[in-house]
Amino acid sequence: MSEAAGTARTEVANAAAGSIYDLGYQTYDGPRLGRRHAIRALFMYSLRGCFGIGRGGRAKIVPLALAIFALLPAVVAVGVAALVIRVPTGGGGGGGGGPAMPITYGTFFSYIQTIPMLFCAAQAPELVGRDQRYHVLPLYFSRALRRSDYAIAKLASLLVALLAVFLVPEAVIFVGSVLAASDVPTAFFENLPSAPPVLAIGLASAAVLGGIGLAVAAFTPRRAYATAAIIAVFTVPSVVVAIVNRFATGDAGRLVVLLSPGEMLEGLNAFFFGRASANRVLVQADLPGVAYLAAAVITAVGCLLVLLQRYRRIAA
């Protein structure tokens, strides 16, 4: 109230001074950039929200902790490679003299696979559940975007966040192994062929995990339910697959691995790097690599459709 009184006084003073200071209401005659700009703005805001930027301090703890956990193995691996293994392998002739990294590009995904999953479980409910919990959707849907645009912008932001969580450590490994080598240019070109499969598995895991996470989270405003449901979708099938795989025989028993996101991505990772997976269940299933690729594409597209359908129907 004291502020209101203060303003009233200033207005009186301004009136006396000929209202020089009170500019009054300014109309806006500048550009209105429309739907694409609106989508981009929501995407950027959501991407920052994925890491708790622009929110309170507590919102940053979980995403940043997970990002650091994803980074740690890479940093340790590079450190070990640089300090310990460099001397004996570095001097010899030929090649980049690349140190034998304890973690390779091909195996890195298996090491940190749970981290993108936890990231989804923590941040997908934050990304979409928050707007439902606090009834913010009417504020979005009454602006320059469509319901489907909202869903797509949210999904894209989670995909990019997941990609960052996965690719930054991979980049650390890349830079680390190149710089730790005695012959940097050669090491660079030796490491380069690993980039496409790294990007491919990064994109595929972001699309599959992010798609599932967001499609599940969009169905409840309750954060805890969403987190629990996402973790269940990621882990329960894996257990089921292990059991079915042990007892069932025939094609059905083999194809069931495709129902578990974890196994599906593990198989896809092996396929992209052109190597056999060490995972016992996958060895037993013995599916061609394209089966994992097809399953991943179907999952990602299916989740997108579910998400679009959810936002077409949701009350606002």
Binding site: Y25, G30, H37, A41, Y45, H135, S142, A144
Partner: protein, 316 residues
């Protein structure tokens, strides 16, 4: 110039309920009150104008453009203040409003400038950098109004803007609405079940009941045409009544008083002349303008009295 809002046979049916029933109406700019009891279809109409809900049949156009086909375009020029709380608590007013301005199509720089401007306009100062979760109801309503007008809309749709405010807060909100409509030249459509508030800020009134149009007219004609002239004489009431009826006026005795129906200016002169002719001791002639509440209460079928009590409208 097409009308600001144009409705044609607009119908919205929910399972078991007809929210809007063949509503046909043109609305011109100004401050427009949309009145009706709880559940009369006010919120549904606003949501259809925003494209938040699709009509079952009929069409609605804002500024000559169909709300279903050109929704994203129209919504760049329309602001919406929803009835219920719609603000996430873990962000600041500045951050939220600037973000929503961009989603309305404003470039980032303009969004920040307009946010500062519009938050000042609604009376939020230093507290705009605090988290919304700590705001009072009055401050939250101001943020909701600010986000609705941050992109300088040509049309503002306000759904029960004084909901949950104390008397002082109501006064301030109504004053803001009045200034927005009068001084800034923004057309405002205010939905409310509180006639007493509406009639103080609006120049045009649309009354709906059970999804049907009761009446749409200028506020002045709403009240004037239904006004009465109260005439009090010490004696000779019946003689005066007879004389007035002979002149073609509609007169109703009311205790010692006569209530003369006021259609135009003529009754003033007729009453004066009749009193003089009869030589009656005149006590007073008083124009009694019906308030809108009387208007609704006196409706012959007695249906749908606007509620004066304060229970919040049940969310639909």
């Amino acid at each position: 110039m097409p009308p600001l809002i144009s409705l044609h046979a607009l119908t919205k049916r929910y399972p078991g309920v007809t929210a809007l029933d063949e509503l046909t109406l043109d609305i011109e700019p100004g401050i427009i009150g949309l009145v009706g009891s709880n559940g009369a279809g006010k919120s549904t109409l606003l949501k259809i104008l925003l494209g938040l809900t699709d009509p079952t049949s009929g069409t609605a156009a804002v500024m000559g453009r169909d709300v279903q086909r050109e929704g994203t375009l129209i919504r760049q020029f329309v602001g919406y203040m929803p009835e219920h709380d719609a603000l996430p608590p873990d962000t600041t007013a500045t951050e939220l409003v600037a973000h929503l301005a961009q989603v309305s199509g404003l470039p980032a720089t303009a969004a920040r400038e307009r946010t500062a401007e519009v938050l000042r306009h609604v009376g939020l100062y230093e507290e705009r950098y605090r988290q919304v979760g700590g705001y009072s109801t009055g401050m939250r309503q101001r943020v909701k109004l600010a986000q609705a007008m941050v992109h300088d809309p040509r049309l503002l749709l306000l759904d029960e803007p004084t909901n949950g405010l104390d008397p002082a807060g109501r006064e301030e909100m109504l004053e803001l609405v009045r200034r927005t409509g009068r001084e800034f030249g923004i057309a405002v459509l205010v939905a409310s079940h509180l006639l007493g508030e509406i009639e103080r800020v609006c120049d045009f009134l649309v009354a709906i009941e059970a999804g049907r149009l009761l009446r749409a007219d200028r506020l002045t004609s709403f009240t004037e045409r239904t006004g009465t002239l109260t005439v009090e004489v010490e004696e000779g009431r019946d003689a005066l009544a007879a004389a007035l009826v002979a002149q073609g006026l509609r007169v109703r005795p009311d205790g010692r008083l006569l209530q003369v129906e006021l259609q135009d200016e003529r009754p003033y002169d007729v009453v004066r002349d009749a009193v003089v002719d009869l030589g009656l001791p005149l006590v007073r002639i008083e124009q009694h303008r019906h308030s809108l509440e009387d208007l609704f209460r006196d409706r012959p079928d007695g249906a749908g009295e606007p509620a004066m009590a304060e229970p919040a409208e049940a969310g639909r």
